[in-house]
């Protein structure tokens, strides 16, 4: 187990370094941040050169990279070109809102996917199953930008049930969570359905039934609980997709999270913010993946022993 963990950790360090290099070089190929910084002024060439020097952008890229790496190992991800605020502080400030939205989306997805998946599996081939599968297909096919706007028009403008945008209280979480969750629920419902089908054919389900336990108890207690194992790991792996999805949803619903911060930073070529947030997000993804891998090991000892090969 220790060897597995060490190997995975070394692997993670390598991935982070690779991501840092790639994002550092790529972001510098996208244009000059200084000329973009003058939207409200009309600067001379001298002013542009001077500001570039003050931001350290006149150094060769490899020197900039060296300095950045050095700082990064002391936990310093630089400061924003625009506000002078440290990237770590900015991430800290926004992470809560983004995680709240991601978990809200996940909650909605589970709330829909589990019953739909169960019903589809239990009444396999029925009308309910048919509609369940159509629903999954719709969920997967909707672009989340469009879905978000539709939700706003229907539930905020026409019906007036929920606020359209912003972040003041829990009711503001409903529409963006639904927009995010509906899309994921399609894939999840399919997964729950197929896992349930597999589980319900197992010997121990028949054993439970033969003991005279009520059918719904068999489904929930014996069926669902076992069917949830692949679902939980899937959710772990989908976490990245979910964080990615929040970028668009945050923009549509004016949600003050990392996604919007990143979009702003990209359009303004705020290099430190783009680099820092991508690197920190990748840390997070690597960590979640590591947790998922470790949880496999807890659930199924065979994976733990063959860990090296499974990579």
């Amino acid at each position: 187990m220790a060897a597995f963990l060490i190997r995975r950790l070394l692997h993670s360090v390598f991935v982070v370094l690779a991501i840092t290099l790639v994002i550092f070089v790529l972001v510098r190929m996208t244009g000059d941040p200084v000329s973009i910084m003058f939207q409200a002024g009309e600067p001379t060439k001298e002013a542009i050169t001077e500001l570039r020097k003050n931001l350290g952008l006149d150094e060769p890229v490899y020197v900039q990279f060296g300095l950045y790496l050095k700082d990064m190992f002391t936990g310093n991800f630089g400061t924003s070109f625009r506000t002078g605020e440290s990237v770590i502080d900015m991430m800290n400030e926004k992470m809560g809102a983004t995680l709240l939205l991601a978990f809200g989306g996940m909650f909605v997805a589970l709330l829909i996917a589990i019953p739909v998946g169960i019903i589809s599996a239990v009444y396999r081939g029925s009308v309910a199953d048919f509609f369940g599968r159509i629903f999954s297909l719709l969920g997967i096919s909707f672009p989340n930008f469009w879905l978000g706007i539709m939700l706003i028009i229907i539930f905020a403008v026409k019906l007036g049930w929920f606020p359209a945008s912003g972040y003041e209280g829990l009711e503001y979480l409903v529409l963006p969570s639904v927009a995010l969750g509906l899309i994921l629920s399609g894939i999840l419902a399919r997964l729950v359905r197929s896992s349930m089908l597999e589980v319900m054919n197992q010997q121990y389900i028949n054993t439970a039934r033969s003991k005279g336990i009520k059918e719904w108890l068999v489904i929930i207690k014996h069926g669902l609980r076992n069917a949830l194992i692949p679902t939980v790991t899937f959710i772990g792996l989908q976490f990245g997709t979910l964080l990615g999805g929040t970028v668009i949803i945050e923009q549509v619903f004016s949600w003050p999270g990392i996604g919007r911060m990143l979009i702003d930073a990209i359009s303004q070529r705020d290099f430190p913010v783009i680099q820092g947030s991508v690197i920190i997000l990748s840390f997070l993804m690597i960590f979640v993946n590591l947790l998922v891998d470790l949880s496999y090991g807890f659930i199924d000892p065979r994976i733990r022993q063959g860990g090296g090969k499974s990579e």
């Binding site: 996208t30 244009g31 000059d32 941040p33 200084v34 000329s35 973009i36 003058f38 939207q39 409200a40 002024g41 009309e42 600067p43 001379t44 060439k45 001298e46 002013a47 542009i48 001077e50 500001l51 924003s80 625009r82 506000t83 002078g84 605020e85 800290n92 400030e93 992470m95 809560g96 809102a97 995680l99 709240l100 991601a102 978990f103 706007i149 706003i152 028009i153 905020a156 403008v157 606020p163 359209a164 945008s165 912003g166 972040y167 003041e168 209280g169 609980r225 076992n226 194992i229 549509v252 619903f253 004016s254 003050p256 919007r260 911060m261 702003d264 359009s267 070529r269 949880s295 659930i299």
Partner: protein
Amino acid sequence: MKKKVGITTCSALLLLAAALGGCSGKSADTSTQANPQSKTEAQAPAKNELTLGVNGDPHSWDPIDTFLLDWSTVATSVFEGLVERTTDLKIQPGLAESWEFKDDKTLQFKLRKGVTFHNGEPFNAEAVKFTFDRLLGEEGKKGPQQANYASIDRVEVVDEFTVNMILKEKDPVLLTKLAGYGGVIVPPKYYKEKGDEYFNTHPVGTGPFKMDSYEKDNKVVLVKNESYWKQGQPKLEKVTFRFIPEATTRLAEMQTGAIDIMKKVEISQTESIKGMSDLELMQVGSPTVYSIRFNTSMKPVDNVKVREAIAYAIDADLIIETLLGGYGKRVNSFQSDMSFGYDPNLPLRNYDPEKAKQLLAEAGVKEGTELDLFLPGTDATFKEVAQAIEMQLGQVGLKVKLNLVDASTFTSDLIPKGKAGHMYRNGWGGWTLDFDNTAYLMYHKGEFWNPDFYDEKVEELLKTERSTFDQEKRMAAFKELNQRLYELVPDVPLYQTINLWAVNKRVKGFQPPTDERIDLREASVE
């Protein structure tokens, strides 16, 4: 097995709880003040309170760090400069009651007495000196605003309410700039005590409203400055600016009544607004002008006849009428009709495809010659304009290839390096409302955004215009400059944009600003 599933579920729940817990803590941190009552207020707008939906959060309120129009939208209510501009763009006294040039390089300001900053600190000559020391010193170096005030050498205190601004060189547009961004006056004591970072999120000025709370990317709440120096102003008790980047979402908030004023209405949204009885669509001219700019060093557009032919082949009136829904204005030079230096008597090149064909034949340009047109991919409106131009140029035998590129790469990389093809979209704001900056930066040899155009006569006229404060002499130079540029056709001016605003009819006394700087001193609600 059971136990293991239990562990996984528990850790998932723990993670969720941690996230929710961390979240509520963080959201409290981001706001300068907890604001539990705001929800009910959004639903039932109280008297004398106004909510505006604007597109962007400037992220830093420090006037010398900013370079965004989004800053001015809100911060105009918080900070003030020595001079200000009226809605019809005339310079009028602000924190300075009067000013005069003692000599060519000394500009003396008499300051307004009895003005205090929001924290109670007095406004005086020291504050003015501090503001400019900071702007022109080390602090200002880190931001883009210093460059706008390069002509100022230093500020000297004469007495408590008099300052001298000592100039390095003549600067005919300095006063216009002082009514602009970086030169607004900041409180020295507050700044020194609280530090730079705190000031970024908790700005203090002398303006009609003071900042009550600020939640990044969400909203900023301003409240009335009770001791504002202008009698009877402001009329509103409270103003909330909400940052809503998507125009569709802003319109939805307008329809639900959650916001009273919407900035940046898109042309496609005008019909929905006109269809709602409680909303009013307001339009205001903007200094932003769009043109097709040529790379004058590239064949065949290095030939002035070809450039002239293209100017005749584009039907700008039709573009404005159909694609812009009439919300645009023809211009004869690359500046808006609001800027000093605009000559209304300069002719327009009206659509004349026959003349275009004739000029192309004279220049020896063959039918089917291919030309590149670059534009930023994010500009949906201009994409349609470019398609119309593609078609119109096609009718005179030119084959246009549209290249949609990333907006930032386009302005920061392709244009300055002369890599934006034969022609590209050029958009310009001209914030000083004086042709000086635009003309200089666009046509003076070696400027960042002018990689190829050069003309000796143009250089000479630019020099003349810059060397005097005499507005008549300057205007004469601009007239000649406009004429010269008209002949050389470095660009085809297409239109001056019109900004659209949606306003709830319960709002009174609101005038949409031409420069996005919202002045709410006279505004009130019914």
